[in-house]
Symmetry: C2
Subunit: 188 residues, 2 copies
C-alpha cells in the first residue's frame, strides 16, 4: 500500500470517523487520483483496515526481567499508541469498530495482542514469585490500558502535541508504581 494513501486514510478516520470516511476523501487528502485508489480498493472497509494495519502496530510483550519493568513497557506502548500521531484513530477504532466487520477484525487483533502481552507478563510475574497466582489479567488490563487511554484523552492538546518519549516513559513508571502498590495505608 502506498504510504501517502495509508497516512491519509488513518488521519481522515482519526479526525472525522467512519461516517465521513470515503475513498474520494482519502484520494483527495493523499493528493492522488481517485481512479488509481479505486483500482486497488473497491471497498472502503478494506482500504481502512489495511491502512490501520500498516500504520498502527500491535502492542508487544517485552521481557525486561521484572514484572514492574514489563508493565512499564506495556503502558509505555499503550500511551504511545493513544497519545501519539495516530492516537485518535486508535481510540476511534475502539469506539466504532463494533458495527463495521472488517474494522472489528482489525480491532480484535489489536485487543488480542494486548491480552496476550498482559497474560505473558502476569504468567512470568507469577513464576518469578512477584505476583500472586490469582492475579486478574482482566482487571490489570482495564487499569493499565484504561489508564493510558484516560490519560491521553485528558491531556490538553498542547501538552499532547509536545509529549516526548521521556514524558511518556515517566508517566508509565509512575502509573505502574501506583497500580502495583497498595493504595491503602499499611496498618500492619
Amino acid at each position: 500500500m502506498n504510504r501517502r494513501v495509508a497516512v491519509a486514510a488513518v488521519e481522515l478516520f482519526g479526525e472525522k470517523g467512519w461516517a465521513s470516511f470515503s475513498i474520494e476523501a482519502v484520494a483527495r487528502r493523499a493528493g492522488v487520483g481517485k481512479a488509481s485508489v479505486y483500482l486497488r480498493w473497491s471497498d472502503k472497509e478494506e482500504l481502512l483496515a489495511e491502512a490501520l494495519a500498516m500504520r498502527i502496530g500491535p502492542i508487544s510483550d517485552v521481557d525486561t526481567g521484572t514484572v514492574r519493568g514489563d508493565l512499564v513497557e506495556l503502558v509505555r506502548q499503550l500511551l504511545d499508541l493513544y497519545a501519539g500521531d495516530h492516537g485518535n484513530a486508535a481510540l476511534r477504532l475502539s469506539l466504532e469498530a463494533r458495527s463495521i466487520p472488517r474494522l472489528a477484525e482489525r480491532h480484535e487483533e489489536m485487543t488480542q495482542a494486548q491480552v496476550l502481552a498482559a497474560r505473558a507478563v502476569v504468567r512470568r510475574g507469577i513464576r518469578r514469585g512477584e505476583l500472586p497466582e490469582a492475579t486478574s489479567v482482566t482487571y490489570l488490563l482495564d487499569a493499565l490500558c484504561g489508564g493510558a487511554m484516560n490519560h491521553a484523552l485528558t491531556l490538553p492538546a498542547a501538552v499532547r502535541a509536545s509529549l516526548s518519549q521521556e514524558g511518556i516513559a515517566e508517566y508509565a513508571r509512575r502509573f505502574v508504581d501506583f497500580v502495583l502498590a497498595s493504595v491503602l495505608v499499611d496498618t500492619a
Copy 2:
C-alpha cells in the same frame, strides 16, 4: 427541550459522531418538523450541548463512610455512564469535544465533576486515615475512570446490552478491590 429531540440528538451523535450530526437528521429521527427545531436552535452545537446536558448527568460524590464504598460508587456511576444507553455518546464526547467549542465546555464540566468527586473521596480517605497523604487523585482517576471506559469498550455488544445494575455493581466492587490492594506478593 423536547425529550424526543434530546434523545434523538444524543443517539445520533453516539452512533455517527459529530461529522454526521445535523439539525435535519435530528428532526427526522425525532419525528418532528425540522422548521420547529430550527426555530429553537439555529446552531447544531447548541442543540447537541443542551441535549447532552439533559440526557447525561455528571458524576456525583457519594459519602458512604469508607473509601472503598465511595470508590465503588464512583466506578458504578462511571460504568453506568460508559456502558449505559448513552455510553457511546459519552465516549464520543471524550474523543471529539476537543475541536468543537460548545462541546468542549460540556466535556470540561463532566471531567471537572469527576475530578471534584475523586478529590473529595481522597480527601475524606486521608482524614479517616485510610489513604496516605500523598495519594494521587490523577492516577486514581486514570485507573478507575479508564478502567470503566476500557471495560465498557471491551464488553461484547450482547453482554453490554443485557448488563444489569447488579452486574455493574459487581464489577465496580471487584475492580476497586483490585486497585486498592497491592498487586504484588506481600513479602513482609
